[in-house]
Every structure is written in structure tokens, then in C-alpha cells.
């Protein structure tokens, strides 16, 4: 039984990974082409007024910059696999080090936003589906539209204006108060506004998704069977239907990763949150192309891997997917 159960899962995993690999390679190619189109190259940062044109040329040869673009891509890819994403044009630090220093803050923000949006969206979505066409359903629909229509930075500015500037109850920027002994309370007070802003877009989407999935399940035969054998409405909905309806939400989490990254760029800028998003904007204003591209590449790789993990989790939770 175990081997029989494991084989399709293994086969599914292999097939799913086989699809992800060309996508990852393509992502690196697109990244490389964009870097290549950007002005400046590694020689720019080694420039020195005492260099002659000949020195410059020999440096280019030494660095392999005179080779055709596909050879350079290959060399770049090899370096990439060794964890070398290049060096920042601004402070000459390895790009990977700079990103890894910023990644935890962005991860904390994104995880808080996902948790917050699920805690709010799942109950609302369930009520909206169970009481279809009730006022909860009606307002959650309008709320979902508002959630995707209001720009995150505008919500951020409004929250800042109300809670930080008018009421003075929440800090306006940063991750912790500088010069104070770090405490959980202080950290959470800094986290709450950025997390809410990042969650807003997701909440609407997740509510609609949970509602739709639950409505689909309620119409299915096994739910009718459960009702027919005399189970109470509560047990039918919350035990039978909801269980199946919530499984696809796992994949939604995977699909929301790129949206969260985009949102983090703006949210971190508004709230001075020291993560990858803020680093992106800094790098762009300083025209630090290796850093810009490194962040984008890492984000894209995390998206591909995140989707892969979400799909695999889903297939483990729901054997019907493996086919």
C-alpha cells in the first residue's frame, strides 16, 4: 500500500520538477539579457584614471568580456551556481550577501501578511458562501473589489497619517526603535501597519477564492449524500465541504508570492522597512545594476520554488491531483 501510494507522488514530483527546471533556466536567461542591456559592466567599477585604453582592453580580455554573449552567459551561470551574483557597483560588497542580509525582514513581512489575510479571509469567505446573497456576501464582494482597487501605497499613507501622525499610537517607520532595548512589543508595533497594507490585496482575493471553492463543493454529490443520510447542516458544511474547499488555498498561497514581492517593494518604501524591496529602490536610484538584477533573480527563483512547494504540498494533501 505504501509503495503504491508513494510511486505516483514520486512520479508527480519528478514531472513537476522537470517543468520547473527549464523555467528556472529561462528566468536566468531573461535576467542575463536585461543585465547585458544595462549600461556599465564590471570594468566600470574597476576604472582608474591611470589606466590606458590598452589596460582597459586587457582587463576586458582577462574578465572574458570580449567573448560572445552566450559564452559570457555560460560563465555567469557557472558563477551563479557557486553563489556569486556579482558585486555591487556602489559599495563593492557581494550582491548575495547584501540580499541575504535583507531577506529575513521581507520574509517576516510577507509571512505576517499571508497569516493575517488567511485569518481574516477564510471565515469571511466561508460565511459569504454559506449565506450566499446575504449582506455578508454582498459586502465581502464590494470589499474584495475595494481591496484590489486601492493602491497599497495610498492605504499606507492613510494609515500613516491616522495612526502615526494624528493619533501617534504607532511608529511611522523602521523595524525597531533605534537606541531602545529590542522587545517583541516594539517589533510588533512596527510590523502591524506594513503587514496590514501588504495583506489588503490578498484578503479580497482569498475571500473570493474560498467562497467560490466552498460553493463548488456544496453542489457536489458527496455533500448531497451527507445531507441525505441526515447529518446536520453544520457538520455537512464545516466537516465535509470545508475540508475539500480549503485544500486549493494551499496553491493560492504559492500564486500570491510574486504579488507579495511586488507589494513589498512599495510597502517597504512607505514604511522604511529594511527589506529587499527597500534595497531594490535604493539600488535603482543608485543605478546599481548587479544588485537590482540579483534581487529580481532571487525573487523569481523563490517564486518558482514556492509554486513548486505549494503544488507538491497540495498533491500530498489531495491524492486526486497526482493523476
Amino acid at each position: 500500500m505504501t509503495t503504491k501510494g508513494a510511486a505516483p507522488l514520486l512520479r508527480y514530483t519528478i514531472r513537476r520538477v522537470a517543468i520547473a527546471i527549464p523555467v528556472l533556466i529561462g528566468v536566468t536567461m531573461i535576467s542575463y539579457l536585461i543585465i547585458n542591456a544595462a549600461p556599465g559592466n564590471p570594468v566600470t567599477m574597476l576604472l582608474n584614471p591611470n589606466m590606458s585604453a590598452g589596460d582597459l582592453h586587457s582587463l576586458e580580455v582577462a574578465l572574458g568580456l570580449n567573448k560572445p554573449v552566450w559564452v559570457r552567459y555560460w560563465l555567469w551561470l557557472i558563477q551563479l551556481l557557486h553563489g556569486n551574483l556579482g558585486f555591487s557597483y556602489v559599495n563593492f560588497q557581494p550582491v548575495l550577501t547584501r540580499i541575504l542580509r535583507r531577506l529575513p525582514a521581507t520574509a517576516e513581512l510577507m509571512v505576517s501578511a499571508i497569516l493575517l489575510s488567511y485569518v481574516l479571509a477564510i471565515p469571511v469567505g466561508v460565511i459569504a458562501a454559506v449565506r450566499q446573497y446575504s449582506w455578508v456576501d454582498y459586502f465581502s464582494t464590494i470589499g474584495a473589489f475595494l481591496g484590489v482597487s486601492v493602491p497599497g501605497f495610498f492605504i499606507g499613507l492613510v494609515l500613516l497619517y491616522i495612526f502615526a501622525l494624528q493619533l501617534n499610537v504607532l511608529p511611522a517607520s523602521g523595524q525597531v526603535t533605534v537606541g531602545v532595548i529590542p522587545s517583541l512589543g516594539d517589533y510588533l508595533r512596527h510590523l502591524v501597519m506594513p503587514a496590514v497594507v501588504l495583506a489588503v490585496g490578498n484578503i479580497g482575493q482569498t475571500v473570493r477564492y474560498v467562497r467560490g471553492a466552498l460553493l463548488d463543493c456544496i453542489r457536489q454529490d458527496y455533500v448531497r449524500t451527507a445531507r441525505a443520510k441526515g447529518l446536520g447542516e453544520r457538520v455537512v458544511i464545516y466537516k465535509h465541504a470545508l475540508h475539500n474547499a480549503l485544500l486549493p488555498v494551499i496553491t493560492i498561497a504559492g500564486l500570491q508570492i510574486p504579488i507579495l514581492f511586488s507589494g513589498a517593494v512599495i510597502t517597504e518604501q512607505v514604511f522604511g522597512w529594511p527589506g529587499m524591496g527597500q534595497l531594490t529602490i535604493q539600488a535603482i536610484t543608485q543605478r546599481d545594476y548587479p544588485t537590482i538584477m540579483g534581487i529580481t533573480l532571487i525573487a523569481a527563483v523563490l517564486v518558482v520554488v514556492g509554486n513548486l512547494v505549494a503544488d507538491l504540498c497540495y498533491s500530498m494533501a489531495d491524492p486526486r491531483i497526482r493523476l
Partner: protein, 300 residues
């Protein structure tokens, strides 16, 4: 519990639908969606404001008033002036031109690209489909805003670059949509008939199949216009989109990154923010209305 009723068995042949009555029906369904109708009126007003900006704006959006820098609303400047003395109301009116054109141009661009790629992938299938769809997956792997920021940082921020970049990056959703309708359409008899009568591949794709796939594309294009406006606003808010002195709703909010402006000059950032919300919400409701009108069961 009542026994399930025996359904009337549908005739196998497709019922002949008069195209005029189909659109009449769609219009009647749209008119029943109250929010969509109200939104369409709001949108019409916004478009009129954009077209007649020259006539409606009380003064030039570019000339500063040396007597009023960062002045609060007054009878002379109804919404006050910005940090360098330009009339906020006039800039707001002219900005509607920029923001709405970004929505229209960018979404048209990505609808065209997405339709072409999706049609080719769905019609030919096989390795063509695999290549196009893997490419779509690659583009979708990049967080949209980050990819747009990277490209804009390479080509330089300007109104036309922003329109082009959003258009060139936003197509994967439309491509997937068109592909899936083409995959099911190509199995249908009328495609077989067109092939048998010697129609070229291009004619089959764009004259026979595409009209049957236009509904979802129209809906996706409408929602796409809303998200293009949001993207432009985000880019311009960060200072990497439409560049001053041209006004867009997004770059009017750029000043509010300073806490002093945010705190003491709400007339500078509340009006453009509200305009973005109104425009985007109206377009999204209209999209919802079109979706309900064309096919109430459509999942998008």
C-alpha cells in the same frame, strides 16, 4: 427530499443564435448590474474630464503661482497648490489624461500580444504550445512590479516607456486565457469545416476562432486597464514612472513620501489618491458587469 427532476434533453446541434439578440441580451444583463452601470457613468465623466482638460482646468498645470507655495485650499486655488506653487486641481484634471491613457494604451498592447501568443499556442498545440507556455511561465515567475522596475531602470523612466513596459510585461494572463479557449475551439466542427474549405491557418485563427474567444479577452482587457493604472501609479509614486512636470495621479502622491508633507498638507495627496481609487474601482466594476453580461458562468 424531492426527486431530481429529469432534465429536458438539449438538442445535439447548437441552437442558431441571432448575433443581434445575443448582444441585446448581454446589454440587458449588463444594465441589471447596478454597480456596473453607475461605474460606467463615473468612467464616462472621467473620460470627458480628460478630453476637455484644457477647457475645465482653472489654470495651467505647469505654471507656478509665486504668491502661493504649498498653499491650502482657498477660493483662488480650490484644492490648494503644490510645493512649487502649481494649482493642484488643474494638475489633477490634466493627470486624468495621463493615467487613463496609460490604462488604455498598455492594456491594448498586452491584449494584442497575449491574444497573438495564446492563439498560436492553442491552435498549433504540440511543441509550439510548450514553448509559448514555458515562456509565459518564465515571465510570470518575475514579480511584475520588480520586472517593470528593472526594465524601466534600464530604458529610463518616461511616460512612453512606462506604457510600453507595462504592455510588454502584462500579457501572460491574456495568453493563457486565449490559449485555453482555442484548445477547446479547435476541436469544433466549424474549424474542421473551415479547414476543409481551404481557409489559411491565419484566417481560421483570426476570422473564425477569435470572435468566439473575444468575451473573456474583453473582460481581461478591462481588468488589465485597471491594473495598468495601478502599476503606473505605483511606479510614479516611487519616482520611477511618469516624470514631472507632466502630472499623473501617481507622481502627485510622490511628495507625500515626506512625513512633513503627509502631516501638514493633506490637500496634496488625498485628492490624487481618491481619484486613483475611483477610476480603478469604476473600471473593475464595469469589467465585472461585462463578465456577467457575456457569460454569467465565466470563471476569471
Amino acid at each position: 427530499m424531492a426527486l431530481p427532476q429529469i432534465k429536458h434533453i438539449e438538442p445535439v446541434t447548437e441552437p442558431i443564435i441571432d448575433p443581434k439578440s445575443y448582444w441585446a441580451l448581454a446589454r440587458r444583463r449588463f444594465m441589471r448590474h447596478k454597480l456596473a452601470v453607475v461605474s460606467l457613468c463615473v468612467l464616462a465623466v472621467l473620460v470627458l474630464i480628460a478630453i476637455f482638460a484644457n477647457q475645465l482646468a482653472p489654470m495651467s498645470p505647469y505654471i507656478s503661482d509665486p504668491t502661493a507655495f504649498a498653499a491650502p485650499p482657498s477660493p483662488h486655488h480650490l484644492l490648494g497648490t503644490d510645493l512649487i506653487g502649481r494649482d493642484v486641481l488643474s494638475r489633477l484634471i490634466f493627470a486624468s489624461r495621463i493615467s487613463l491613457s496609460v490604462g488604455i494604451v498598455s492594456s491594448s498592447l498586452f491584449v494584442i500580444i497575449g491574444t497573438l501568443l495564446g492563439a498560436v499556442a492553442g491552435y498549433y498545440g504540440g511543441w509550439v504550445d510548450t514553448v509559448v507556455m514555458r515562456f509565459t511561465d518564465m515571465v510570470l515567475s518575475f514579480p511584475v512590479l520588480m520586472l517593470i522596475l528593472v526594465v524601466v531602470s534600464v530604458v529610463g523612466p518616461s511616460l512612453y516607456n512606462v506604457m510600453a513596459v507595462i504592455g510588454l510585461i502584462g500579457w501572460p494572463g491574456v495568453a493563457r486565457l486565449v490559449r485555453s479557449s482555442f484548445l477547446s475551439l479547435r476541436e469544433q466542427d466549424f474549424v474542421e469545416a473551415a479547414k476543409a474549405s481551404g481557409a489559411s491557418n491565419a484566417a481560421i485563427m483570426f476570422k473564425h476562432m477569435l470572435p468566439n474567444a473575444l468575451g473573456p479577452v474583453l473582460v481581461a482587457g478591462t481588468f488589465g486597464a485597471a491594473s495598468s493604472i495601478l502599476l503606473e501609479a505605483g511606479l510614479s509614486f516611487l519616482g520611477l514612472g511618469v516624470q514631472p512636470p507632466i502630472a499623473s495621479w501617481g507622481n502627485m502622491l510622490n511628495d507625500a513620501q515626506s512625513l512633513t508633507v503627509l502631516h501638514t498638507m493633506p490637500w496634496l495627496w488625498i485628492p490624487p489618491g481618491v481619484m486613483i481609487v475611483v477610476a480603478v474601482l469604476a473600471i473593475n466594476f464595469v469589467g465585472d458587469g461585462i463578465r456577467d453580461a457575456l457569460d454569467p458562468r465565466m470563471q476569471l
